[in-house]
């Protein structure tokens, strides 16, 4: 029987799994175990619905409703002195829970504490921008949109930031393969030569582990070059590095002559 390979998560997976292994949990402490966090949580709870709050590794984690993100962050900034938004992004939980977890890393200089505000966003929903509170969200939200395709409402310039504007797919989704999907294979061919050149050129080899060593048409033999199109499937010519030269040589480039080198091997070693 063929091995079952889930399509909703194509990332690398452990080859061997012990059936009886239960992964330990990082301890989640009660927020009241820390004086500052305890009072912060009680103030937050008085104003907003806090779904969950705990301390993990010296950092307070709170879960909120996704529609309240602007209000909570504004409250944290103005009332509780968490005035820096250091980072925000998302985690893909589409396969397990059909949505994303979005996190905001906040920092307070006066309290010397960090808070992580987390929210769950179901697939297809959009989140409100916090750009008006923290300008740093301008770039961070663009990156989140680029990498996950999460729409951000009222963002001033929601455009792809890392990938090209006409790229298909969102690379950090679990359904997106590491070497890129099919449209990634054709992206540069289409862009540079046009779609009609697809049959002549063929798809781009994006997986470096899948390079065909017998392919003498498409730069697959760097350092072991032979003339274009030579059939080497029967026997490989014993080519030294830098030995192959195009017919007639390259304009203004001298063919390397090893015997004319300035230093002999012995001299080079003695140096």
């Amino acid at each position: 029987m063929r091995e079952y390979k889930p399509k909703d998560n194509v990332q690398a997976k452990a080859y061997y799994n012990d059936r009886f292994y239960v992964a330990p949990q990082l301890a989640k402490l009660d927020p009241n175990s820390d004086e500052i966090f305890g009072s912060d949580v009680s103030k937050l709870k008085a104003n907003f619905e806090i779904l969950e709050a705990y301390i993990q590794k010296d950092e307070l984690v709170i879960f909120i409703n996704y529609s309240k993100n602007v209000e909570v962050l504004k409250f944290l900034r103005d009332e509780l002195n968490y005035s820096f938004l250091m980072e925000m992004s998302a985690v893909d939980f589409l396969a397990k829970r059909n949505g994303f977890e979005i996190f905001y890393e906040m920092l307070s200089l006066t309290k010397r504490k960090r808070i992580r505000v987390k929210t769950f966003l179901a697939k297809g929903l959009a989140i409100e921008t916090v750009e008006n509170l923290f300008r740093s969200a301008n770039f961070a939200e663009r990156e989140m949109f680029d990498m996950f395709g999460i729409q951000v409402n009222n963002h001033s310039f929601l455009k792809r930031i890392m990938m090209p504007d006409d790229w298909n797919g969102h690379p950090l989704l679990k359904t997106y393969p590491l070497q890129g999907d099919e449209s990634a294979q054709w992206y540069e061919v289409d862009k540079i030569f046009g779609k009609e050149a697809r049959e002549i050129i063929g798809p781009e080899i994006r997986d470096s582990a899948r390079v065909d060593r017998y392919d003498t048409e498409r730069f697959a033999r760097l350092g072991h070059e032979v003339a274009k199109g030579t059939d080497i499937s029967k026997s490989e010519p014993n080519t030294d590095n830098h030995q192959f030269q195009e017919k007639g040589g390259v304009f203004l480039v001298k063919n390397l002559n090893k015997s004319q080198k300035i230093l002999t091997e012995q001299e080079r070693r003695d140096r």
Binding site: Q11, A12, K13, A14, Y15, Y16, Y21, A23, P24, Q25, L26, Q56, K57, E59, V61, S83, F84, L85, M86, E87, S89, V91, D92, F103, E105, L109, R112, R114, R116, F134, R135, S136, N138, F139, A140, E143, M147, R160, I161, M162, M163, P164, P171, L172, Y176, L178, D190, K191, I192, F193, G194, K195, E196
Partner: protein, 411 residues
């Protein structure tokens, strides 16, 4: 024949069909003082910048995606390629994040901690020297480049003596360091510190501090007020240059920084010249830290890796003599360690600012999500608020004074 989808040359550098005197120009992506692959789309009115729009992604290699497909130890050499000017600081940020996730940060031996701190501070000097060299070159002070690169080469020689690499060190591992310092290394380090201390005083500062051109081009250029610095989440010297007294080495200490005696230089000048002074002062403080570390190193016990066989391979001698250690080592290499389920965000003070690693682990040998918070990413974003109002010639100064590295911006 024209094809609709084919890449065609077009004159995007100039907009001819506008009524006003505005011009849109591309700054980069191949501009020598863009410090990498930065494309700035500048709207100019005469020589004044009206609007700036940084376009990044030319060096995007998908490191976060790669991390999801690698075991933790496998990803460590990849972090070298982020801030390639000071790669040990990236190695360290990642190693510390994984150690916190595993809960073994207390079990890293003292000697390893001292060597790590030495590497971090040496990297800080290297990074600041590189910054000074390229920044001065951009502004037009060519000789500084030659002096700063001389000292940088000597520091790289020291790092090469230690780990064999000059640029991509991978000298810090999860759980400690792989090697002890070679014989006589601390002596060479002490000699180097004397040289670099002299160079800061007699070469860089003597050339630049009272230099009329340098002051004219840097003073009151690129003013980041407190509100802008806060709102953009700046860190490192960009933050301290705006009057915030905040350095993670002091405020949230890691490694052995809490034992060391050093100062955090702060200025409320908010301009490029103030930040230049901070860089010089930070180099002095790094020299001070390194001098304190040399005797501490000699007092410490020769132990380099944490003894946690569940996560970290046992020492070589044990692997070669004991069967169970060999088996554990084999499992760790082929399958990787399985950290607990949970998430951590660990930030360290890299030479550029706050370098944070967010790791979401689901108990698998591969991280479920790894987000790298790099300071340069936000320091690039701030350009869109910082550049308008400045002259075109100041753009180069401002990019230089933000100290962005594109390996880190695009990841």
């Amino acid at each position: 024949m024209q094809q609709a989808n084919r890449l065609r040359p077009f004159f995007e550098n100039l907009a001819f069909d506008r009524e006003d005197s505005q011009m849109i120009i591309n700054f980069g992506p191949q501009h020598p003082s863009a410090h990498g692959q930065l494309r700035l789309i500048l709207h100019l009115d005469g020589e004044q910048v009206v609007k700036a729009n940084p376009d990044i992604g030319y060096l995007h290699r998908g490191m976060e995606k790669m991390a999801e497909n690698m075991i933790y130890n496998e990803f460590l050499p990849t972090t070298d390629r982020m801030d390639y000017i000071a790669s040990s600081s990236n190695n360290y940020g990642f190693a510390l994040a994984v150690e916190k996730l595993l809960g073994i940060e207390e079990q890293v031996p003292r000697r390893a901690k001292i060597i790590r701190t030495m590497l971090l501070e040496l990297n800080r000097i290297v990074s600041h020297e590189f910054w000074l060299a390229t920044h001065a070159l951009d502004v037009g002070a060519m000789s500084v480049f030659l002096y700063a690169f001389r000292e940088r080469e000597w520091a790289l020689d020291l790092i090469e003596d230690y780990c064999g690499a000059r640029l991509t060190h991978s000298a810090i591992r999860i759980g400690g360091v792989p090697l002890d310092l070679p014989d006589g290394w601390t002596g060479h380090l002490a000699g180097y510190l004397d040289k670099v201390e002299r160079a800061v005083r007699e070469d860089y500062e003597a050339l630049l501090d009272e230099n009329r051109i340098w002051k004219m081009r840097l003073e009151n250029v690129g003013i980041i007020d407190q509100e802008m610095a806060r709102s953009w989440g700046t860190s490192g010297i960009m933050l301290r240059g705006s009057g915030y007294h905040w350095d993670l080495r002091k405020e949230m200490p890691y490694e052995i920084y809490s034992e060391l005696d050093f100062d955090i230089p702060v200025t409320d000048k908010c301009d490029s010249y103030g930040r230049y002074k901070l860089y010089m002062e930070e180099m002095r403080q790094s020299i001070k830290i390194l001098r304190q570390l040399i005797p501490l190193y000699h007092q410490s016990e020769a132990k380099l890796m944490a003894n946690v066989p569940q996560y970290i391979s046992a020492p070589k001698e044990q692997i070669m003599t004991q069967n169970y250690s060999l088996m554990q080592h084999f499992v760790l290499v082929t399958q990787g360690m399985r950290p607990p389920v949970g998430e951590v965000y660990v930030a360290t003070e890299s030479p550029k600012g706050e370098l944070g690693f967010y790791i979401n682990s689901q108990g698998e040998p591969y991280p479920y999500r790894l987000k790298i918070r790099t300071p340069s990413f936000f320091h690039t974003g701030i350009l869109q608020d910082l550049l308008p109002g400045h002259q075109l010639a100041d753009v180069v100064t401002i990019i230089g004074s933000t100290n962005i590295v594109f390996g880190e911006v695009d990841r």
